[in-house]
Symmetry: none
Subunit: 398 residues, 2 copies
């Protein structure tokens, strides 16, 4: 079956609302409830009753990072389409990567007189001080040969390095030895096509040491995770939709761009909703990303995650008022505050539309979603469910 | 994704308790209940309430043999990793197979004067008498060329034949014609590499007829299912765990050995529990095999299976007292006493651990497990769930 042959277009509007880290597990110190069960969500609960519910997960027992989780949500096999570490870091720092760019994760590090790594994080150098050093590096090393060098500030000792120019390859090794007491490695080419990239990186590292030589702690750099944008069929090519992604965090805008979404800058979720309203006529599919539940889950802040979910609930009517044909509300993965991290647990999903059915189950929670008519599905099929419910997938076979 | 890259080690203790043949179907003569529903299992019920429940099956509609069922439980694809009939028979008879050994199932048979098979089972010759014949065969044919011949007694007319030596191959045909009125087949090589094995088997069969010529019924042997140990990645290689398998039946110890478990001899399940206690500090993962429910199910003995489950329940506290981080209680397949055999039905599974969640469902039964948060999963993913719940699988992607 080639999905593309079954796709048809129409005037429907589809919204995929992702509450990052939505899924939870019962917390023994909070009445054995999950955050979603504890939250007061009258709008989601009312919608749930008129919707189809279910649970999804990327793969049983596997905890997804944000990249794979969103690849799966957008309908791409996350095990086949890998977003490299360097690319994800650069996207997260807001760089608009271009085709052919090579992105790497960078650390400021402390090297001793023999050039051996003493501290891989340069004493967790202050973010502002690191920015100053990156400015100096940018001035001193803006380009090597015909390749532009972008020095992108991150937090503390972290930065992203982006090479932009012809003939680059991601097939180069890390310089970061991942331990102390040894010298950084040479960025060796793992492929003949990568020799130019390795040569340029070697030059960048050498010259960076000269520029940084006078600094007490941050006198060297370590690079790892060289990667290029994966080649992905766009949502437009696959589904014949105009797609917009609205996310306040650069990384999610970046991932949305990878699959061809237009991703205007928005500072807050309220701004995202305003943008949604403004762009409503011009796009078919909208991805709305709401970050807060994940942040609070990672902090182990049960009550904070509850409040984040409740805050989203109050904004739900704004989306409903636009009259989406199909609305899916779900998370990308679980981030139970009990676990304080992304986890492998399944994630509740609500699908609302004229032909989605109504399970009559309420409230919107892990327990009700377990009993819903969508059943337990792989994250990777959700996009297909949205399109089917929008009447955009033709019958297969006569 | 290479699972190995995501694995990390820690100090957790994991127990997989397999109640062989646990799954059942409602029995119309026993109040429409399954054996698990009819059994009084206060300890399992209390644990169920604080655990995640679900159902698993190897493949919809497929009835697993013990080999495939345990392969799947241990996380190996049972359709890819096939344990040959001869190997399974030899393991079941307690032989420690070595790499390169070729194992076959053997029958004593009755041949007529023309050498045609009259009775494939030699009148179901008595076990002790068969043992005597196997001793004689061992004395007469301990070796052919540079290959050692092991004659391993089984029940009645059944035995296993093991060839041990250099250059052997499993690619040889059966001598057993599977019907009477025809002569046994020559053990032909199905591959040039198997010519030595075929030659040796041919010699064994011929000389066995000479040794047995004076016996009234058991005057010949039939061989089938030549097979060698499959090459399997060990649990240690895959999960970086030290694994112990505790089973009273040789076949289950044999299968556990195939995936690299240490399998001390235990006579009873009580001894297995004592061994578990003694070895607790030295291993990370424990497989505990409890045979009785399957035996009673195959006998069509509903009440017997109920009592077997109840007996296990009384021993559960001994396991809980050790404080396993993660405990999974399940079966390898269903053996409904109504069906009197292994069946394709799904099997209840209970997963207990600090991040498994608590479904609040009790008692431990097919009906409650159907509603559990684990959902319906393939047997093959259970090992991954155990490892995830023990915090031994890192996040996939950033």
């Amino acid at each position: 079956m080639r999905m593309h042959d079954l796709v048809e277009t129409n005037q429907t509007k589809m919204v995929l609302l992702v509450m990052d880290g939505l899924g939870g597990i019962p917390h023994p110190e909070h009445g054995g409830r999950t955050e979603l069960e504890a939250a007061k969500t009258p709008n989601l609960d009312a919608l749930a009753e008129r919707s189809a519910l279910g649970m999804h997960q990327m793969a049983v027992g596997i905890t997804p990072g944000s990249g794979p989780a969103h690849m799966a949500l957008f309908g791409y096999d996350p095990f086949q389409h890998v977003i490299g570490r360097g690319v994800l870091e650069a996207l997260g720092l807001g760089i608009q990567l271009e085709k052919g760019d090579v992105a790497l994760r960078g650390n400021f590090a402390t090297l001793d007189a023999q050039g051996k790594v003493v501290d891989r994080r340069a004493g967790r150098i202050d973010t502002d001080e690191a920015r100053g050093l990156l400015s100096r590096l940018h001035e001193a090393i803006p380009r090597v040969e015909d390749v532009e060098i972008l020095w992108v500030p991150g937090k503390e000792h972290r930065f992203a390095l982006v090479l932009r120019g012809p003939g680059l390859s991601e097939k180069v090794g890390d310089t970061d030895p991942q331990k102390t007491g040894v010298a950084p490695k040479e960025p060796g080419a793992q492929d003949p096509e990568a020799e130019k990239t390795a040569r340029i990186l070697s030059d960048v590292v050498r010259r960076a040491r000269e520029v940084l030589s006078s600094h007490a702690h941050a006198n060297g750099i370590l690079l790892r995770g060289a990667s290029q944008l994966p080649h992905l069929e766009t949502l437009e090519d696959r589904w014949r939709v105009r797609a917009m992604g609205l996310a306040t965090y650069p990384m999610y805008r970046g991932i949305a761009q990878l699959v061809g979404m237009v991703t205007p800058y928005v500072e807050t979720f309220e701004e995202a909703l305003e943008k949604l309203r403004q762009a409503w006529k011009d796009y078919d599919f909208f991805f709305l990303h709401y970050k807060d539940p994940d942040k609070k889950g990672e902090d182990g802040d049960f009550e904070g995650k509850v409040r984040a979910i409740e805050a989203l609930d109050t904004m739900l009517p704004t989306i409903l008022d636009l009259g989406p044909t199909v609305l899916m509300v779900t998370g990308d993965h679980a981030t139970p505050s009990l676990y304080r991290a992304h986890s492998w647990h399944p994630v509740p999903v609500l699908l609302h539309g004229p032909f989605a059915g109504a399970d009559g189950l309420s409230p919107f929670s892990e327990k009700t979603c377990l009993r819903g008519s969508l059943g337990r599905v792989a994250t990777g099929v959700l996009m297909r469910l949205i399109m089917a419910n929008a009447g955009r997938i033709r019958k297969y076979g006569a």
